[in-house]
Symmetry: C2
Subunit: 283 residues, 2 copies
DNA sequence: TCAATAGTGTCTCTTAGACAATATCGC
DNA sequence: GCGATATTGTCTAAGAGACACTATTGA
């Protein structure tokens, strides 16, 4: 485990990773207790990391945090409460960071290579900074963690990225232009992207990632962005309408000095019917 | 946590789960130390469970254990050594149970619902039976576990199913006719089967599951068994030979009073080429 | 009228899948 | 010869993908 530089320790506030899970209205002392004595509340060795995808303006985005005093960014993650399921823990973290009510989460891989713990968020010094009487012997935060990866598909426009005392910055980043990520979070992100692509080939994803009303060019751009390849607009329209997934509305969207595209909405029941019949390939 | 019946505790030998990971030539006392004081060696809360598939005589098999004194069967699983990767832990367990040198493992899902721990392998009584001075306070074996699931594809004929003191019975079971499984192992098995099918649709699997030389009817039967559906032999032959995955040999296999089928072997480099180019669909 | 984007139909090629007659082997 | 299994080719239907012109809008 590397010892962090002094600068970072000085900047570290008396709140922490847990703030991403608990109401910050709790007193610091309580939060710090949960941190220092976390083994009473959380599983030792186990965390979840979330790759939260959003889509906006032909760019696929991912939500990242920058903890105070750190140079690099992180995927929003957290620890797992005892008697809480992994998915529930992941949901809790996503909800805290996005304020979304309905969240679709997909487990894609669990990361357990010990190498991933070489560089750790917590150090003896940073823990002492929070509580100078902390017993560092075999402290849970200084031990190895395995992390269960989930990815989430969110409607960009509905998300309110939320920082806190632990991480003042929380924002969307274009997946094509990420900042440097700490630990093995780059690898986790890459695996999530692979998982998202495979998922996209087998599910009609628009429901999660587009607003209620959208145009054919909108949804085509979404697919092109995620799958990272150009598609023929005639073939695309053919496929998606023949599947019965979308319904044309009697409205057009005004987009300035060009022909106005029609608005569409998803056919929810058709969507569910297709999902129920197993794997479908949309595009 | 349910208290096991007395019968089971009486039958329990002074060796245990760990025997599946360590040479049994070690003294019992050492093994028991690893069990009782396992937190010094293993991650708390974390286990791996393996669904080891083998194929034989048109049946897809899975390797199961029956621990001494228990009525139900289990997937071969184990704990994860500190500083050991999840995959390495899973490999260790598979190797111990099969004696195979080359093992292909695929992580398919991690199971973390707390409900899965309601019924536990270990109880206060069974631990006391091993060491009557055991400190049960917050004992790691009585705490919740999350389990990382791997499935393995093995060549049935090369496997030597291996029991030990902890589980005297270790044998293949037809996936269509499984015995009762303990804990959530039925669910883990089902998820593995889904994972295997998806995998099979995207990879040429024969290499792992067939002997070096095989016939077209052999490999077709393998696919029919795993995917659980009949296939047309003309279409099947067409597809697999056009892909260049198999090479006809100048030998035939004698199968008694019928026309003798030709033997084939896999084209390894073609296989790797296809894999490298991303997802391919064989059948 | 122009610049920009939406919208639409046809053709070809590939592939999946249905389908059955002949060849070979051991007895 | 017979019973059993292996081997082989053609046709059709569906879908993927290539391809380009016209329509609409607002400035």
């Amino acid at each position: 485990m590397l010892v962090q530089n002094d600068e970072r320790i000085k900047k570290m506030p008396k709140v922490h990773y847990f703030a991403s899970m608990e109401k910050t209205t709790r007193k610091d002392s309580l939060i710090n207790d949960q941190l220092i004595n976390g083994e009473n509340y959380y599983y030792r060795h186990i965390s979840v990391d979330n790759v939260i995808f959003g889509y906006h303006d032909k760019e696929l985005k991912v939500l990242l945090l920058k903890p105070n005093g750190m140079e690099k960014w992180l995927l929003p993650g957290g620890y797992v409460l005892k008697n809480e399921s992994l998915e529930k823990a992941a949901k809790r973290v996503v909800r805290y960071r996005t304020h979304l009510k309905k969240i679709n989460l997909f487990q894609f891989k669990t990361f357990g290579n010990p190498e991933r713990n070489k560089d750790s968020f917590w150090t003896a010094d940073s823990l002492r900074h929070i509580d100078d009487k902390v017993d560092l012997t075999n402290h849970w935060l200084l031990d190895n963690f395995i992390s269960v990866g989930y990815f989430a598909l969110t409607e960009y426009s509905m998300v309110r990225p939320t920082g806190d005392f632990y991480a003042e910055e929380c924002q969307w980043w274009d997946v094509k232009n990420l900042p440097e990520l700490s630990f093995d979070h780059k690898e986790i992100f890459k695996e999530a992207l692979v998982g998202l692509k495979i998922f996209t080939y087998h599910h009609p994803i628009g429901i999660e990632l587009l607003p209620e009303k959208f145009t054919i060019p909108d949804i085509q751009a979404l697919y092109e962005t995620i799958l990272d390849r150009k598609m023929d607009n005639r073939n695309f329209t053919k496929k998606i309408t023949l599947l019965g997934l979308v319904e044309k509305l009697d409205e057009k969207k005004s987009i300035g000095g060009h022909r106005s595209p029609f608005l569409y909405k998803f056919n929810k029941s058709r969507y569910e019917e297709l999902i129920k019949n197993g794997e479908i390939i949309v595009i």
